[in-house]
């Protein structure tokens, strides 16, 4: 056998997802490099969340297939961690921060087995990594948005996965949380893990990520940031209105997008409950 290129962490072939015959993702082919940080960017309604959920097997594709580490998802479920958008869960749920992080260990525990002392220790050290150890016994209702995001990140860390799929981890977080997330991402990369994150703030893509996927229902381009993250590709992805370029970093872009575009970042951290 000849030596081919290294096996991708995630391989998506001809993936089409539709809601009632309305395609959300149209024939997407994708290879996510192992050991790299990859951003998925694209305008609203581009199918970014759907792509992540399809990779995780949470939405049924109309066509196509996904392979993770060369295998079907069912065989490698334990290798994949998921950080959903934090708005998708009920933060009034009666539970503590530590308990939410412990949920990350449920996958490897399997059915019926309860987390024990080892899992608790893992959860505490994950909370330390995101600078939240002082909040372990706090009710989740009392967290701010950035704190919620860090709890989710800690939960992903205890999953001990090799591939991390994150849906807008930087959305609506404070500067401190943004730094904490960046630190965690680089730690994951140094461990050899693969991270795929849906990302909105275009101007931070070159700084935070190695690779980028430009998505707008179809895959517009994907690959290393220096090669793929070009004005031309962005223009195709965003239909000519590139919020990133509107910030004056590129020539000839309309300026009107800067006020409402998704590139405004860092955004203030909206409190969702009482602060510390």
């Amino acid at each position: 056998m000849t030596q081919g290129p290294p096996e991708p962490a995630i391989e998506v072939n001809d993936l089409t997802v539709a809601y009632r015959e309305q395609p959300v993702l149209w024939d997407v082919d994708l290879r996510i490099r192992a050991g790299a940080l990859t951003a998925i960017v694209g305008p609203n309604g581009a199918g970014k969340t759907t792509l992540v959920r399809a990779i995780l097997g949470l939405v049924a594709p109309a066509a196509g297939q996904v392979r993770i580490l060369g295998q079907p998802l069912a065989r490698v479920r334990g290798e994949v961690a998921y950080v959903p958008q934090r708005g998708t869960v009920d933060w009034d749920f009666p539970t503590s921060v530590l308990d939410v992080v412990l949920m990350g260990t449920y996958g490897r525990l399997g059915w019926f087995r309860r987390p024990g002392r080892r899992e608790r220790e893992d959860a505490r050290s994950a909370l330390e990594k995101v600078d939240m150890e002082a909040f372990a016994d706090r009710q989740i209702r009392q967290l701010s948005g950035g704190q919620q995001q860090r709890v989710f990140l800690a939960r992903a860390l205890v999953q001990d996965a090799r591939i991390h799929l994150m849906d807008e981890p930087f959305q609506g977080v404070d500067a401190r949380t943004e730094r904490a997330i960046v630190d965690v991402l680089s730690e994951l990369r140094s461990r050899g893990d693969t991270v795929v994150a849906v990302h909105h703030a275009l101007q931070t893509v070159p700084e935070y990520f190695d690779d980028v996927v430009l998505l707008n229902v179809r895959r517009v381009a994907s690959g290393p940031v220096p090669e793929v993250f070009t004005e031309e590709n962005l223009r195709v992805t965003y239909g000519g209105r590139v919020p990133f370029l509107a910030r004056g970093e590129g020539p000839g872009a309309p300026a009107s997008e800067s006020a409402s575009g998704p590139a405004l970042d860092p955004r203030p951290d909206p409190p969702t409950g009482a602060r510390e």
Binding site: L56, V89, F93, T95, V100
Partner: protein, 370 residues
């Protein structure tokens, strides 16, 4: 109390606890009204199974009723998935269809069916002691009690052994699915449990009041704790207390036991809603009044500081002027002054005159510079 009364009381407590346990997750999953739908639609299963086995005490009835409850949930979901009706409308469409079919069947065959619509709706726990479970000549007690204990055991087994699975599926269904815990499977298993519980409670309290027992104690417990682990025992305790309260209330008033139990559950919830230490209405009102008073004290201190040493000090800094100047009622102004004096931030100067203490001056400056 006769031994029959005791049996009814024990049964009432067991029914209430059995209902409250799955009720905790109904409340957390925001599916409280689904319990109403389930408790009504299971009637169809009971009626059809009764026509088949001709025995109201047969376990077949429980299974058939449980199956109709799950069928109802599946029909609601199928209807909702068409996206032609919203979920609440789907619920309101499906369960009356099943329930009315059952009512039709009962009334059509009223002569030879020992089910009447009143008993179906309201239940009659007082009759439970008459239906005994006798094995080999030994009287083991009311059948309903044994059935309920069986269902209670099933509820405990399910909720305790699948505690973490239910927790993650309720809090974050996406994560649960990504980890291979099928939220759909758990949902249907849980709905079967709710259906079976409703069937068991049905005999005792009927199909309407069972909703009160499923929802009121967990809703009250939710106001008292933020810990899931405490929620289940607390809801069970409140349910047991409500059942006992309702039972004695019914004896006192010579009224329906089921109605009295449900009323008691409602009253207990109302009491908790008012009096819960942190989330209750009284605590909330008190907290708000406290904040208002505290803010008013600061306002007063700043007012006094502004006029201190000024030309109109003698006129402005008087207790009897506050009502006019700060637009406070006399009574409120008096309370604010009294509080500021008590906290050592204010002194009275000969009758109505007010003067800041050094502490009061410092507080006022600090507040203003912030």
């Amino acid at each position: 109390m006769t031994s029959q009364d005791w049996e009814v009381l024990v049964l009432a407590v067991v029914v209430a606890v059995t209902c409250a346990l799955p009720g905790v997750y109904l409340v957390l999953r925001r599916m409280a009204l689904l319990s109403d739908a389930i408790s009504h639609s299971i009637l169809l299963g009971i009626v059809l199974a009764f026509f088949w086995v001709r025995d109201l005490n047969s376990p077949v009835l429980v299974l058939a009723a449980g199956a109709t409850g799950v069928l109802m949930v599946a029909m609601v979901e199928a209807l909702h998935r068409t996206r032609l009706v919203k979920e609440d409308a789907a619920i309101a469409l499906v369960f009356p269809a099943l329930f009315s079919l059952a009512v039709l069947l009962i009334s059509r065959h009223a002569g030879d069916v020992h089910l009447d619509v009143d008993a179906v709706l309201l239940g009659e726990i007082a009759f439970a002691p008459f239906r005994r479970w006798v094995v080999g000549g030994i009287d083991l007690g009311p059948r309903a009690l044994w059935m309920m204990l069986g269902i209670l055991a099933a509820n405990l087994l399910f909720l305790l052994s699948l505690h973490k699975e239910m927790k993650v599926a309720t809090f974050d269904a996406g994560l649960a699915a990504a980890m291979g815990f099928s939220p759909v499977l758990l949902h249907y298993a849980f709905m079967s449990l709710v259906s079976v519980t409703a069937v068991g409670a049905f005999d005792a309290v009927g199909s309407i009041l069972v909703v009160a027992l499923m929802i009121a104690p967990p809703a009250a417990a939710r106001l008292l704790t933020d810990r899931l682990g405490l929620l289940l025992p607390l809801a069970a305790g409140i349910a047991a207390g409500s059942a006992a309260l309702g039972f004695f209330g019914a004896i006192l008033l010579d009224a329906s036991i089921a109605g009295s139990m449900a009323s008691a559950a409602g009253l207990v919830f109302a009491g908790v809603l008012l009096g819960a230490p942190e989330r209750g209405i009284v605590a909330e009102v008190r907290r708000r009044r406290e904040q208002r008073l505290e803010f008013a004290v600061r306002m007063l201190l700043i007012h006094l500081l502004n006029h201190e040493g000024g030309p109109r000090e003698a006129e402005e800094n008087r207790a009897d002027h506050l009502a006019g100047h700060l637009r406070w009622s006399r009574d409120f102004a008096r309370r604010v002054v009294r509080r500021a004096v008590r906290e050592g931030q204010l002194e009275r100067r000969g009758g109505e005159g007010l003067a800041l203490t050094p502490l009061g001056r410092e507080v006022a400056r600090h507040v203003m510079t912030r």
